[in-house]
Amino acid sequence: MLVKRIALVEDNDDNRALIAALLEDRYRLLEYADGPSALAGLVDEPPDLILLDISLPGMDGTEVLAKLRRHDALRQVPAVALTAHAMRGDRERFLEQGFNEYVSKPIVDEEILLSAIHRLLGAEGNADDGGTDGGTEG
């Protein structure tokens, strides 16, 4: 089975490391620390799903998504908003802005993020269950 590609656009190194540790065994991760580099990279290499931080420096996540959506290859790629704002009504606001799902930070229950990814990638994108300890250490 072709390994699904997930783009992670997140400026916080610690959060990027956390999400990478969660996903790197099952998916091919395309990591970006800011919007412009994500825009440049993803147009050439469209992912199957985008995890997009909202509070990016310079160009925030909603602006990045709007620009990504202008490209045919990226118009339909599901996108998950990652945000530490966690205000009432956030989910609805981000869905209105073109995101397909919303996950709040800090990521305490990783299953919430994983469930969103599995749901958006569909059954073929599901990773089987199992710990990521040992083999991913180091």
Binding site: N12, D13, D14, N15, A17, L18, A21, L22, D25, R26, S55, T83, A84, K105, P106, I107, V108, E110, E111, L114, A127, D128, D129, G130, G131, T132, D133, G134, G135, T136, E137, G138
Partner: protein, 121 residues
Amino acid sequence: MSLGPQVRARLRRRFVGGLLGQLDRMRALDIQLAEGAQLAEGAQLAEGAREELRTIGHRLAGTGSSFGLPRLSTLGRALEHAPDEQMRPALAALMDAIGDVLRSEDKDPPPPSSPTSPSSP
């Protein structure tokens, strides 16, 4: 599919390792806030410091709990949303909490792990 204890401990060490540098920066910004209250030209200095501190608070709000440090998330969020006149007390509380974490980790560091360590169930 979830993170096991070894991976979690490695990520926590990484996060805590970055806190000292953030604490130093917060101290410098605190001085700017104090000076901003005293100097005629300090208002702009203080505004810049507040903006950077809100960003720091936001980042800690979005990370602390992920690494088993929910107090940093709570105090980070308080700093991010503090009114201008409450920013220094909010900052002091966050710096104290970071100091506690650093002292605690220094005194009682998590057990080391390595790629050759046996996996935990």
